[in-house]
Subunit: 356 residues, 2 copies
């Protein structure tokens, strides 16, 4: 079954897609210049409504197949060991609206990513304290945002295997870039699963339930799958696929966003990241000729790496592109990796420029 | 001459509009619940690119028809008298994509507003210090964002008459919601003109120039006009037209955003604001029957006012609407006030709900 209520289309954008685009927020690509994305520039995808939670009365319940159910306040969590990790996050639907035919959902082009420093407490010791039953297979994370999707009324819920949830970098996060979470990023507490697409890092977390059967909720079993066709069950979407982006050089035209660049030496800069390993190469394509760029430092083990490329801009129209490769050997496709839900589309970015 | 490079259309959304929608950011309407919009939820419209300015080396130059040109650092400005004002800001293009035919530009529906506490120093005493020449007519405010619009390469520039610029609430603002401006909101300094549409509050301000002739730059003389047709010069867009918005009740469907509401008593809440006076009335329409709501407090003289309405939701489909009136007597139209550039469209909001 497809997770989409409308079939993919080559037709123009729908009103429903526009409604989603004016609610959800991309990161303008010039913001790739910041090691850490300012909080107000980070991408944002909210499935339903941003809930209003009172952090004073809010509690996190940990239960299900555990020996010692817990109920924790924000203060309880803040009193536990504190860890801060810079993490590049990306929406699994990033790139969806570049596909042909186009799956109908939030119509992301390239802007659904960002990097922030997240602070919280590791989940694994809390699980240990709760004492998972032997038969516990997965943890179900429930957020406070509620709505209807795929004709199913639901709280937003996702699961992780015990092994994935117990990785040391998995946090219960209450701060972003040194400040308490803003409402839209999950206040007072969200799950943070570095390396995975954003749907995994459940916002407005209210409960963690250990279950002994695979979780079959809508967001886990239906949505977020790489389906080749509507009747293909597909593989689940998990870690972030490798991607590089370039800061569009020069100045833009307001409406077309086409770039106007002065002739001569231009330093192209950008970022690259992957949930499957380190970035080992970024190549830059100028009118189809690919040359390796220079890698800069990573912002962190789970965060993007800067890169640069010295380009001599010759007058005329050009197409710039960039392509990253990671330590697993994965690289970005130059032809679209189409799937039914428009997930993980890491097709190389192209930027049209006019050099004068 | 129209400010648009493409004619208004009844055709579906274009790729160019989508590109703008994924860069610019609306405020999801549930965020109307906050007196002050969290910084990361405030609407954002950037004409060109967000510039990268170094606040340590940045200077504001005040010159032109003045006796004593000034060059001020951020520290100089911060050492001057400090004032904090809550201000509701709105993009003049808010509502544009609801028009038929639809002017092609940033395709706002209803989300291009927000309220923040802005801190800065009043402009008037600085003008006095610089000593305006007798012939000075307007001030031209230049931002550091540069690009092409209407086929004209330009820094973003707007002007104000001396009288408007000298009003006590006009600030040179360096903080938003108690923190230094984030890059996207004009860091290190922006103009803030309470009561006017957002294009007036020039971000990334680098210079203020007193001029003796009316400024005829693109953003002043061509864009931001209420044009009835392409050959109508039109009236300039100035103050924010009266508007009320309601927080959509119940829970949403992900794709359609249609609301599902439980039967029984529902407290509808929202905000209303106007740049032309106080809000004196908010009416709520249920299936076309209008009843006055209850006004709550204003967040400030230049900020939105809360309102509420007790609705008894009966099973079935309903259309909710709201309409504000201000102390100037202005109210919101129930039929679209079309104009060529899609400016100041304060047509009443409608929310489709299904009550169960």
């Amino acid at each position: 079954m497809s997770a989409l209520s409308v079939e993919p289309t080559d037709a123009p954008l729908t009103f429903e897609e526009l409604q989603l685009a004016t609610r959800n927020r991309g990161m303008p690509l010039e913001a790739l210049r910041y090691d850490l994305t300012p909080t107000g520039l980070h991408y944002l995808l909210v499935h339903f409504d941003i809930p209003a939670l009172d952090s004073a009365t809010w509690r996190l319940r940990i239960g299900g197949a555990v020996k010692r159910p817990l109920e924790l306040s924000l203060e309880d969590l803040q009193a536990r060991p504190r860890r801060t990790i810079p993490v590049t996050m990306e929406c699994a639907g990033n790139g969806r609206a570049r596909l042909q035919p186009r799956p109908i959902s939030q119509p992301w082009l390239l802007e659904a990513s960002g990097t922030a420093e997240w602070t919280g407490t590791p989940l694994a010791p809390i699980l240990e304290e709760a004492g998972l039953d032997e038969g516990a297979l997965e943890l179900v994370f429930t957020g406070a945002d509620r709505g209807v999707q795929g004709e199913i009324e639901q709280d937003y819920q996702r699961s992780l295997t015990i092994a994935e949830a117990s990785r040391p970098e998995v946090l219960l996060a209450y701060e972003m870039n040194g400040a308490p979470l803003q409402p839209q990023h999950g206040s007072p507490l969200r799950l943070l699963v570095p390396g995975w697409y954003g749907m995994t890092s459940v916002k407005w977390l209210t409960s963690i339930e250990a279950v002994t059967e695979p979780f079959d909720g809508y967001q886990q079993a239906t949505a977020y799958h790489y389906q080749a066709a509507p009747d293909d069950p597909g593989e689940p979407v998990t870690r972030i696929r490798v991607r590089a982006l370039v800061v569009p050089p020069g100045i833009p035209d307001f409406l077309t966003r086409r770039r106007l660049v002065d002739r001569g030496p231009v330093t192209l800069t950008g970022r690259a990241w992957s949930g499957d390993g380190e970035i080992t190469k970024v190549e830059v394509g100028v009118d189809g000729d690919w040359t390796p760029g220079t890698l800069g430092p990573s912002v962190g083990e789970f965060a993007w790496r800067s890169w640069s490329f010295e380009w001599t801009a010759e007058p005329g129209d050009h197409v710039l592109a960039c392509r990253a490769t990671d330590s697993s050997g994965a690289t970005q496709p130059v032809e679209q990796p189409w799937n039914e839900q428009g997930m993980g589309n890491n097709l190389v970015q192209q930027v049209d420029v006019s050099v004068r």
